[in-house]
Amino acid sequence: MGEERDLLEGLLLELRRGVLVLSVLSQMGEAKYGYALVQSLAEQGVSIDPNTLYPLLRRLEKQGLLESSWETGGTKPRKYYKRTIEGDRIFSELKEQWRVMAAGIEQLLGETE
């Protein structure tokens, strides 16, 4: 039984990993700091561990999809991330692909019921 659960968890993780970038990009139209992103994603049922999200943000920045800036005005320094123009383009492309894929999958799943 435990083995089956491990397997399921592994598969879920992979499934979620696939849409991680899309989920994160979707939230970055406006500048957000990391933990606010964790919370807003969790509120909408897409929970991501900080130890996955923070490295991912850095990677997306390195790839040119996000840009970051440190805000030092508040009570403590915060790093804000925001989509770049290239990020906007990639995001809308990914969104489009996702919708096609989701519709396809939905249809596939409908057939089995």
Binding site: Y33, G34, P77, K79
Partner: protein, 373 residues
Amino acid sequence: MTEQDRDWMERYIYQVVRHLPKSQREEIGLELRELIEDMWEQSGDMTEVLQELGDPAVFAKQYRGEEGYLIGPEYYDTYFWLLKVVLFCSLIPVALFGFGEAFYEGFGGAALQTTGDWIRAIVRSCSNGLGSVIANVMISGLGAIGSVTLIFLLLERKKIRLGELPGADVISKNTIGRDTIGRDAKNAMGTAWTPEALSPLPDKRAVINRGDTIVGIVFIVLFSVLLIFAPKLFSVFLNIEEDLVIIPFFNLDKWSLILPFFLASLWIGLADEIVKLVAGVYNRFVLISNIVSNVLQIVLGALLLLVLPFWNPNFTSELSVQLEGVSERFWHAFLDWDGRKASFVILVMLCLIALADMGVTAYKTIRYGTGND
């Protein structure tokens, strides 16, 4: 936040960033401080926060990505196998020579009348030998691991994908499935892949088996061990009036000058064998590596034999002194020994062997080999 909480936070951050490249540590440290403070404000319990963040080493790994390895999965099997071979055929001879020498010295000149004498001689030999054997085993073990690793490291770092040419299945039978996705993405850089890019299956006669290369590798390793630890074995051994007289062929006084060149030449040959082993099939890479290593070996050979004081300069004079009154014909033949002549003969032989080797490799590559455009 209490002092205690802050301390835990700093410990956690330290454990994450210490695994990261120096250039990123400061910024990631700041990011983490921001994150942990945010999370702490939510829950108010530092232990809970850190528990949620999980093992700092795992966190650091996520930051690093998957790039951190010395020898990648593509070479790992071959690397590990070769490491075992090289360690096996260097450490055992090193240990045997070490004890052999210790026993020779331990028993030499000892009166062996009683059992007690024997035991004393054995104990003396073992205790004298053990220290040097342990030291030599460690040195040669590290040397073997180091040289094999260095060669594979170069292959890995330079992204020399010998295995991308036909014969990939020979070297990475276990890793191909795991690797395909990542590699396809890499190949997709710029040029689109087409089925025409598929090389034909290698001709059976072009396949290089492990067995073909292992003979060369074992020979090179054993010879290196002998040259490093027992160059005296290359000597004339005379038993004159119960005394063993050793007259070395090599110039052991200048050995520390000669040995590095000798070993360099051998290890170039080793690198060539490893290229063959990893490629698994005759192709352009193998041919180029073969030509380069043969040329370098001849150059080094010429340097050793013609320029450096390679031969024992006192060989004939020592021998003629020792042979006075010895009637054994066999050794008298060595009185005609002439280092220059020997150098010349050996060099010609080396050239012939190298030419034959390059010829065979070139023939097999051109006739049967694939992947050479």
